[in-house]
């Protein structure tokens, strides 16, 4: 090849490389920006007085005097609304569909009326807790959505009709301008940093509260998986490197391990259900003797399933790390009379540690993020944070599964977008932290080995 051509080829490869990297980075930014921005919105946002009320009543937190002051202003600001309602009822009676609708819209905004008895569901006990939600709820008070069929060439078009029209000439007519003008006073918006999003239990299927149960569940599952997979993985790797004979069966075994790494994770989930739950009934051994004894989902079963999922990765990483230990270390140990097992424990494994650790932490990230294997074996939609001993018998909510579940199955999926994004961000950060830990650990151990 001529020098000129070679230079052109070189340059175009460089360009191609830079282009691909730029493309990937752009995709990452596009993907991560909304997750980060909206995820942070779950923790830092403009809260209303209703948010404070949830914290005071259910989590016994918050500054009582600030709350009392704000609440007093809010009650005063809300009083005219309820007065107008009473005046209307006195005139037209309570058996009125339109009034019912209005009352419902007001309840979404402000919570139950003062004269109303306490509703059963937590979601009905409080008004809008976030200012963004409050503005939407206020809009729904002021406007009713109607369908416009006037254009025959189109399907019905939704149009917002001012609700005030329906109540023209009644004592409620002035309620609507009042609400839109005094929204601030009625709801007391203020910026807040809600750490509890990470550390609080969830309340009424994530309508309020935090995601601690999910975080804890994810941690339990991940740590459990590692506890099972790491010893097995390292021992298998030692066997494969140091003890396995040169036999075709071992070759088959090696390819099986590689294949296992590529099996779709849902298959592992089904396997976990079929084997750990239905056949082995792993959790049954830990249940009280008088319990019904039905074996069902548990963190134990989920951890075992995840362990099998990450086992091939750990075996591979450990195998390669052990193989990469210079042969001279082994010879040195053997030459002073160390046995094979001693050599492995005192020289080979310590030298292979950085590689093994990297494998472990990478697979921890994988285990934390996997959804399919835990659907059948460990995950439930809502649940409380569990004690350590409960992990043997109890299922748990977990971040990856809950993200999916809240987005698709939740009755009020639209209202809790912030929770979904918060969960996604938490999961991403968790995995990122694990990977950073891997890099740091690896660097430290390598530095120690290199002197």
């Amino acid at each position: 090849m001529r020098l000129g051509t070679r230079k052109v080829v070189d340059r175009s490869f460089t360009g191609l490389g830079i282009f691909s990297i730029a493309l990937v980075s752009l995709a990452l930014v596009i993907l991560l920006t909304p997750i980060v921005v909206r995820g942070i919105g779950a923790v830092v946002f403009r809260a209303t007085i209703e948010h404070d009320r949830v914290l005071m009543e259910h989590f016994e937190r918050g500054n009582a005097s600030t709350f009392a002051a704000r609440n007093a202003t809010a009650i005063a600001a809300r009083a005219p609304v309820y007065e107008m309602l009473t005046a209307y009822e006195a005139q037209y009676g309570v058996d009125d569909f339109e009034l019912e609708e209005l009352r419902e819209a007001l309840q979404r905004l402000l919570g139950p009326a003062p004269d109303q008895s306490k509703p059963t569901l937590a979601r009905d006990q409080f008004g809008a807790t976030r200012w963004a939600q409050a503005q939407e709820a206020a809009h729904n008070v002021l406007y009713v959505q109607e369908w416009d069929y006037s254009d025959p060439t189109q399907f019905g078009v939704p149009v917002d009709v001012p609700r005030a029209k329906r109540f023209a000439g009644t004592p409620l007519e002035s309620l609507f301008p009042y609400v839109s003008e005094h929204l601030d006073e009625m709801l007391q918006p203020h910026w807040t940093l809600y750490w509890g999003f990470l550390l609080d239990d969830s309340l009424d299927a994530h309508m309020f509260g935090g995601i601690w149960a999910e975080i804890l569940g994810t941690l339990y599952l991940t740590i459990g998986a590692v506890l099972f997979a790491v010893p097995m993985g390292i021992i298998s790797a030692i066997y494969l490197v140091e003890y396995a004979p040169d036999h075709w069966l071992i070759g088959v075994l090696r390819s099986c391990i590689s294949t296992l790494a590529g099996v779709p994770s849902i298959v592992f989930g089904l396997f976990g259900l079929a084997f750990f739950i239905n056949t082995a009934q792993v959790s049954k051994y830990f249940m009280a003797a008088d319990s019904t004894g039905v074996s069902s989902k548990s963190i134990l079963a989920g951890s075992l399933t995840l362990a099998i999922l990450i086992l091939p990765v750990i075996i591979r990483a450990a195998e390669e790390a052990i193989r990469a230990v210079p042969r001279t270390y082994k010879e040195a140990a053997l030459s002073v009379g160390a046995g094979k097992w001693r050599t492995i424990l005192t020289v080979m494994l310590p030298a292979a540690l950085p590689g093994i650790l990297t494998g472990i932490v990478i697979s921890m990230g994988r285990a934390a993020g996997e959804t399919a294997p835990i659907i059948f074996t460990a995950a439930v939609s809502v649940g409380r944070p569990l004690e350590v001993w409960q992990t043997l018998t109890q299922p748990t909510p977990a971040l990856p599964w809950s993200v999916y579940n809240l987005c698709t199955e939740h009755t009020a999926a639209d209202e809790i977008r912030h929770v979904q994004y918060g969960m996604v961000l938490t999961l991403v950060v968790l995995v990122l932290l694990l990977n950073t830990a891997a890099i740091i650990l690896r660097a430290r151990v390598s530095r120690r080995l290199a002197g």
Binding site: Y329, V336, G337, G339, G451
Partner: protein, 240 residues
């Protein structure tokens, strides 16, 4: 000694006198390392490597089936061509062998480590940095550390495979002095490419050529009036 089907070393009969230094010389690939590694059965690590014949250590065949190989290796120390300290502290390197063999008490270990390092002429250079990683030492220091590590388990026989080939003249000098000091206390077999070195440090010299032992004899005798023509060629070729 065979690697697979090809014989690397054949028909070697060699007596190594106790307390003396025996040098093995010969061109590259003639089987010096293979022979040396046969003595402490280091060749067992290599797949497809096998040995026939007898190899007696104090009258005991090291290839008899019931032999305890780790016990054998304890009696036969080895220093390799390239320094190979563990990625541990200097102290832990030397203490490795004694620990393996059950020495637990801190003061005993300290005693053994100091004594071994002194005998390897390294003590004065490292006594203030025992906790530091051994990989931070210079090549020559590392090699002496490896010698100290081998000495720490009190072997009867010390095998050295080109211990100075990776070192500069100063460090080489150090190691040669060391061998001179160890002579008498230990039985030493040293493989070397350096004719002068063999002449300087050894009592006995063996010349090998393509897997066979050509000539063995008193060092001064072998170097001044070799019996075999090939020995003569090799020695003079190298000197020439």
């Amino acid at each position: 000694m065979f690697y697979g089907d090809s014989a690397a070393v054949r028909d070697v009969t060699l007596g190594v006198p106790r307390g003396k230094v025996t040098a093995i010389i010969g061109p590259s690939g003639c089987g010096k390392s293979t022979l040396l590694r046969a003595i402490n059965r280091m060749n067992d690590l290599i797949r497809g490597c096998r040995a026939t014949g007898r190899l007696l250590l104090e009258g005991e065949d090291v290839y008899r089936p019931q032999i305890d190989v780790t016990a054998l290796r304890r009696r036969v120390g080895m220093v390799f061509q390239k320094p190979n300290p563990f990625p541990k502290s200097i102290f832990d390197n030397v203490a490795y062998g004694p620990r393996i063999h059950g020495v637990r008490s801190r003061s005993d270990l300290q005693g053994i480590v100091e004594q071994s390092l002194r005998r390897a002429a390294l003590w004065d250079e490292v006594k203030d940095r025992m906790r530091q990683n051994a990989l931070g030492l210079s090549g020559g220091q590392q090699q002496r550390l490896c010698i100290a590590r081998a000495l720490a388990v009190e072997p009867e026989l010390l095998l050295m495979d080109e211990p100075t080939s990776a070192l500069d003249p100063m460090a080489t000098d150090h190691i040669e002095n060391l061998i001179a000091e160890l002579r008498g206390t230990y039985t030493i077999i040293i493989v070397t490419h350096n004719m002068q070195q063999a002449a300087r440090v050894s009592d006995l010299t063996a010349f090998m050529y393509v897997g066979e032992l050509i000539e063995v004899g008193d060092t001064s005798g072998l170097f001044t009036k070799p019996v075999n023509q090939r020995t003569q060629d090799y020695i003079t070729g190298r000197f020439g």
